[in-house]
């Protein structure tokens, strides 16, 4: 649940591509009811962006905030389900670009939307064991939604990353982290397929809700905390509805969810989703605030984290662009351009 040596977040970085497609535009193309769309708009990566380029920007922002020499990183781990190469690590390119090579552990992690939070939990253990001074974990995706599929409305691009280090250097101390995993086939993509398949309504109750609730309850029980003890809460956000519903069941009021709820504006950034919400909360939080965060990845499982903000956050958060900066930097595109950027037109 927590390492013997106390650790925390010493730097964080976020990134969201500039392009947006409105949900009503997707509904227009496929003849769906524009009043029944799940979110307002989603982010779309530019033609020259992929999980590598997004992860590099996230890593640079995280290093800026951490104020460390990248050579002191002992791990650069990237969690994603949209690797540009099926075989060849994303993380080596990121580590090379930020000058963390060559004495660093680099690997790509995969667990649908939970891959990013897994890297952060592993960084906690890596630093907490004394094996690493600093470690960087990133969650990023350029999520694939099949044309006309329900997921096309939300499958978006972006992510966030965290440099983990000793608690005394931290802008937020990790109070504990716990995982809850079962074999639940709610969403998958087979080898060589371009788009994932999913179990429609099966993705809700036995999947998202069961794992997010079980993981969150278990960590709070272990720590002896309750929703009232936290100032902010972040859940994996495949849409707007699910995280608000899960918060209500657990007893977190809407006001504690809203600052970390970015999916209505940029969509579901999959492995980046909960981590991006956490970055948005850190952009706003102040010393003494307690934050609870639970990711969710199909297949299925959740990682929960409990954090407490220190006096170091205020000075560090202004050293890189906030999540808000990236959300407000937007250019709307139509479905045709979106189809081109996402390589939905095969020639």
């Amino acid at each position: 649940m927590k390492p013997s040596k106390s650790v925390g977040i010493i730097g964080y970085g976020a990134y969201v591509p500039k392009y947006r497609i409105q949900n009503t535009e997707i509904a227009r193309v496929w003849g769906n009811d524009p009043n029944l769309v799940p979110i307002r708009e989603k982010s779309v990566p530019g033609a020259d962006e992929d999980s590598v380029t997004i992860a590099i920007e996230i890593a640079r922002n995280a290093i800026l905030r951490a104020g460390i020499d990248p050579k002191d990183l002992r791990a650069v781990w990237v969690g994603t389900e949209s690797k540009p190469y099926a075989v060849k690590p994303t993380s080596t390119i990121v580590a090379e670009a930020i000058a963390a090579t060559p004495f660093v552990n680099a690997a790509d992690w995969e667990f649908a939307c939970k891959a990013g939070s897994e890297t952060v939990q592993a960084c906690i253990a890596y630093v907490g064991s004394g094996m690493a001074k600093y470690a960087l974990g990133i969650g990023v995706d350029t999520a694939q939604g099949a044309p006309s599929d329900a997921l096309e409305y939300t499958a978006a691009a972006g992510g966030a990353g965290y440099v983990i280090g000793a608690a005394k250097e931290s802008l937020a101390v990790i109070e504990g982290s716990l995982s809850y995993v079962t074999d639940t086939p709610d969403f998958w993509r087979r080898q060589h397929e371009h788009y994932p398949k999913h179990g429609n309504r099966f993705t809700g109750e036995p999947s998202y809700f069961k794992h997010v609730l079980s993981s969150s309850k278990a960590l709070m029980e272990e720590l002896g905390t309750k929703p009232d003890d936290y100032d902010y809460v972040i859940f994996h956000q495949p849409n707007r509805k699910f995280p608000l519903e899960v918060a209500k069941i657990l007893g977190f009021p809407k006001e504690k969810v809203i600052d970390g709820l970015v999916s209505p504006y940029i969509g579901n950034t999959y492995a980046g989703s909960a981590l991006l919400g956490l970055a948005a909360v850190l952009d706003k939080a102040k010393e003494g605030d307690r934050i609870f965060c639970t990711s969710y990845g199909s297949g299925a499982g959740s990682d929960s984290f409990s954090l407490k903000v220190t006096d170091k956050l205020a000075d560090r958060k202004v050293k890189a662009p906030s999540v808000k900066s990236y959300i407000e930097r937007r250019e709307e595109i139509d479905y045709a351009r979106y189809a081109r950027y996402r390589k939905k037109i095969r020639m």
């Binding site: 992929d50 590099i56 920007e57 390119i93 670009a97 202004v318 808000k324 407000e328």
Partner: protein, 135 residues
């Protein structure tokens, strides 16, 4: 596909690393084995901050086929903060959004890819600076 050629240059292209002459302190990009000012061979890697301003730019309509995926895009002459002038692609902004004197920042983006089977080449591009809005 020329993998070794890309690999030899990739680190400097990912990070915008040029050279500094240890004799006359002249900064260059790309890396120069021989200093263009004093002809010294005593040069070392130099990491540029990655900020500069546009001196001139043009819109590209007929690029080599590897770059067509990214049309339309602008190419600019950029004066780096440290002095050297480099040529780079502009991303996240079309030519009509650019101005001479505009401040830009370096990002690492996909430059080109060799079909679906080959390697992906990443490198520096520049974009208008992202403002640090804070909540």
């Amino acid at each position: 596909m020329d993998v070794p050629r890309h690999w030899r240059e990739q680190v400097r292209r990912y990070r915008l690393v040029g050279s500094k002459c240890n004799d006359c302190e002249k900064l260059s990009f790309p890396y120069r084995k021989v200093c263009p000012k004093c002809k010294s061979r005593n040069n070392e890697n130099y990491q540029f901050i990655g900020r500069g301003k546009i001196i001139s730019f043009t819109n590209i309509n007929s690029p080599p086929k590897e770059h067509k995926y990214n049309l339309p895009f602008a190419v600019a002459l950029i004066e780096l903060m440290e002095g050297p002038i480099i040529t780079a692609q502009i991303t996240d902004a079309r030519a009509e959004e650019l101005e001479i004197g505009m401040e830009v920042e370096m990002v690492t983006r996909k430059i080109m890819e060799y079909n679906d089977e080959g390697i992906i080449c990443y490198g520096y591009k520049f974009r208008p600076i992202v403002e640090y809005a804070h909540p």
